[in-house]
Amino acid sequence: MSDILDITVVVNGIERNLEVAVNHTLLDVLRDQLGLTGTKECCVEGECGACTVTMNGRTINSCITLAVEADGAEIGTVEGLADHGHLSPLQQAFLDTAAPQCGFCIPGQLVSAQALLDRNPNPTLEEVQEALGGNLCRCAGYRQITDAVLAAAAGETS
């Protein structure tokens, strides 16, 4: 039996009071306790980026972060990008360039790319590639993904 701890987290702007097992990751809690299944579990060792979320504005791998470490933090997931059912410009750009192929890595790609645009609204291709270096795409749709980020930065979305 593992210890249980009460935590308070703000997830996509909504405050949540949760009882979490201390050996559960933030990813476990987002998916299984909050039903936010946009964030994906894949490599579970911080290599692939499918589980990327923001914690206090910075991207992290939620698969190697304990849920208790998020106590008091603001968490952003892919579900927080759309505004009342309307895709964000970045999400629209991903659709426009057909960046999502199988789609599994896309939530993580979107969260990393949005974090990049928030701190650097006009990135170069190299800066996009560096910012997304921790997000692997097994379909190898990297060209479409970086095109989408650059298009969103340039305001070229449909």
């Binding site: 039996m1 593992s2 210890d3 701890l5 201390v22 050996n23 559960h24 990751t25 579970v44 060792e45 911080g46 290599e47 980026g49 990327t52 914690m55 910075r58 991207t59 992290i60 791998n61 190697i64 972060t65 304990l66 208790v68 470490e69 990393s112 974090a115 560096e130 910012a131 270096g133 921790g134 997000n135």
Partner: protein
Amino acid sequence: MRAFGYARPESLEEAIGLLEEHGSEAMLLAGGTDLMLGLRGGWSKPRIVVDLKRVRELASGIEESDAGLTVSAATVMTDITEDRRMQQRFPALVEAAVVVGSVQIRNRATLAGNICNCSPAADTAPPLMVYGAVVIAAGPAGTRRIPVEEFMVGPGKTALAAAELVAAIEVPFPPEPYGAAYLRHTRRKGTDLASVTLACGVDASGTTRLAYGSMGPRPFLEIDGTGVLADPKVPDEAKAPLFETIFAKASPSPTSMRSGPEYRLAMLRVLGARALRTAIERLAEGGSK
């Protein structure tokens, strides 16, 4: 993940008390980028995980004094790469911190953790050694200062005594002007562990400090006081014997999956010459100040 207890001390005294109480059954958590893999993979089996991020004395921050910059234990790589004073005074350390893992890893991984994990390939170890960085260890008997090159003993093994932890890392300002550079060799561009890590620093008096990793059980620091290496007018052939002395401790693992020993030794010499050249150029341009 297997079960473990979790403690979140708020003071250094409390944290050290937990280490005294639980001994080797306690493991410290800062960024977790190494620990979490061990917890999941089953090679780390603590009875209790002690999370240091609420300890007020260890809170994230880089403090400046007349002597240098002090990096607290909870400070992550991104804090270092974004810090203007770090960029200006310790460019080789920033060059190392910015290639640790991915953005997501750098947002969590701490400088102290990189040294405590004590991988021979730790990116930040060579520049810390070149800059003469000192670990501030805190334990039941108080604090003591350990140079980074003495702190890193072997793979996963540090000079910390029982119930001691790293409170901060002090990086003293080098003499002005100073030229330094960090280089690494990886299998591919992007996120990878290094097959060779190397940092070099030169000052105006002609002293060259060179540290290299991934070449044995721990990174090594060597100092050339002859002035020959730092002299831009001395041809490379004349520097080669000095490099051989500096690299005498290199004994790369024959079983590493990252690259074979012959290749590593060859790349070590290439990186050594390149980093020295860059350090000399930076010194000539006025260096970090």
